[in-house]
Symmetry: C2
């Protein structure tokens, strides 16, 4: 049997079956997951991670497909992680789309993986992040994450992308309204896809004015690109904008972002590990069920109970 170290070495060497195996292990939240993450950590930070998000029907998958082809023409290797359950990458959507993309799945410079949201909705953000990192460590030049961007966990996922592309299409009124919330603040590039449709210009103007209202004070001015993903129109401009954003990041902002990501991650790790330990101790000593009984009798509320327990611990230390 292979050790986790051997598996990680094979991942770092870009061996596709080991990459797939490592992803399955982290996706299932297996015992090896943490060791895999820790061992991969020193190999991270080489790939450019691009997040593609937007409502269903905006044409994200077709756009991703065209981007992948553009990168392959320039001999860049690409990893794709699709979180959208209706994405053709994850076996949803139309047969035609899947057939069109079939050649990509036999290209050894491309690794496509869809995240099975049904198994583990709670751990989706974590599993996706880990998958992006496995693909980064495996030596892919570009890693693209595609999500519908509807929920909080998907906004979370986007935080690991260096360049975030928000894809919209004219005439998706309600859905645009629905995603506006989290998405407008995080987009580095906005794509109006299906730009041959009526109202494409209006959509661009709407986004422009929303961006002007936004309070972000970065030096990067979010760009708006019009595309027709089906014909490939505008995808060169999009990939150029992505490169431009990458160069901008390399001038300094990238390090700040990276540090912010790692700070958030350390805090999250402390949160998770601290709770695990404390709750385990409380359960072992019978204290946890005592607290629950008092809470059920409404003598105590959960937040006050937590403060009590932690106050005692801190005074001990």
């Amino acid at each position: 049997m292979r050790t986790t170290k051997q598996l990680v070495d094979a991942v770092v060497n870009g061996e596709p079956r080991s990459i797939a195996r490592a992803i399955t292990l982290v996706e299932n939240g297996s015992l090896e997951a943490q060791e895999i993450s820790s061992r991969l950590f020193p190999h991270l930070g080489k790939a450019h991670v691009i997040g593609i998000t937007g409502p269903s029907g905006a044409g994200k998958s077709t756009l991703v497909e065209k981007l992948v082809r553009k990168y392959r023409e320039r001999s860049r290797t690409v990893g794709v992680v699709a979180v959208d359950p209706t994405s053709p990458f994850s076996g949803g959507a139309f047969l035609g789309d899947r057939i069109r993309m079939q050649d990509l799945s036999t290209d050894t410079g491309v690794f496509i993986r869809s995240m099975a949201t049904r198994h583990n909705p709670g751990g989706l953000a974590k599993a996706t992040k880990d998958t992006v990192r496995i693909l980064d460590a495996s030596g892919k030049d570009i890693v693209i994450v595609e999500t519908v961007g509807a929920g909080q966990s998907e906004v979370e996922i986007m935080k690991i992308a260096q360049t975030i592309v928000v894809v919209l299409a004219p005439g998706l009124g309600d859905e645009i309204q629905a995603i506006k919330a989290g998405m407008m603040e995080i987009g580095d590039i906005f794509v109006i896809n299906k730009a041959d449709r009526e109202n494409a210009n209006k959509a661009a103007t709407d986004i422009q004015s929303m961006l002007e209202l936004s309070s972000e004070k970065h030096q990067w001015k979010p760009a708006i690109v019009k595309t027709i993903a089906l014909t490939g129109e505008g995808t060169i401009q999009l990939s150029e904008k992505i490169d431009e954003h990458r160069k901008y990041l390399e001038k300094g902002e990238g390090k700040i972002r990276q540090q912010r990501i790692l700070e958030a991650e350390l805090m999250e790790a402390i949160r998770q590990k601290a709770a695990e330990r404390i709750i385990q101790e409380l359960k072992k000593s019978g204290r946890f069920s005592m607290l629950i009984s008092r809470i059920l009798r409404k003598e105590l509320d959960p937040l006050t109970a937590a403060e009590k327990v932690l106050g005692e611990r801190m005074n001990k230390g």
Copy 2:
């Protein structure tokens, strides 16, 4: 100036302006939020909390409106919390819907609040739970929470509902596929709305077979109800099913669910409070930025760093 205690007393007396004020305070994550929650805690558990979830376009809001009217006919007081940003309750959707519901907003037996997802996506689940509790403590007989059920935080929200109604409509194929993940397991009652549409029977059969595949082993057999919310058809049957589920819960299962909710909440409170304290200490002592430097140099990964820090703390105690 009113103290938080006075505010909470007014909430418990059902005073609408105080209810609104308390919700705003918890929604903004203000300093008083925790005191409000703690003080309200002993007054909880009287309302029947009904979660209504399902994809946009299924007709949830119209159904909620009809349910509210049914409860009002029986002189029950009702609170509604709408998390769907396109819900007419939150000012989205069509003017016609809003006008139709206007009379409800002048009925003192009804309190309607929409959660502003844009302000605080991360705290949405928490703010919604707190709002449901404020309405419970204020003496409302019924509290209805409406969400689109797309993201993880919305599945979280549903966990505080005693009876969960999943609303679907024929012909929403893709979206049904998208929500299937989290929703099939949590639904106590499934509504096929727009039951006059073609394929309504097929939708019911589909759900029936999905339910039969499901591994849940509760005594409650999830019910399927067909409605036409626009005309009100089937809403009596739905409210009867909800009552039936309530009675089922009162026979024992309700207590088990309640305990599970409070256990999860105590764990979450410990998680939050423990991390707050530890991170604060680490930042104060400069240890946090030391760790980040090491992580940036890739000498350490975040999970290992967290374990190190916590291991040291535990040994001290």
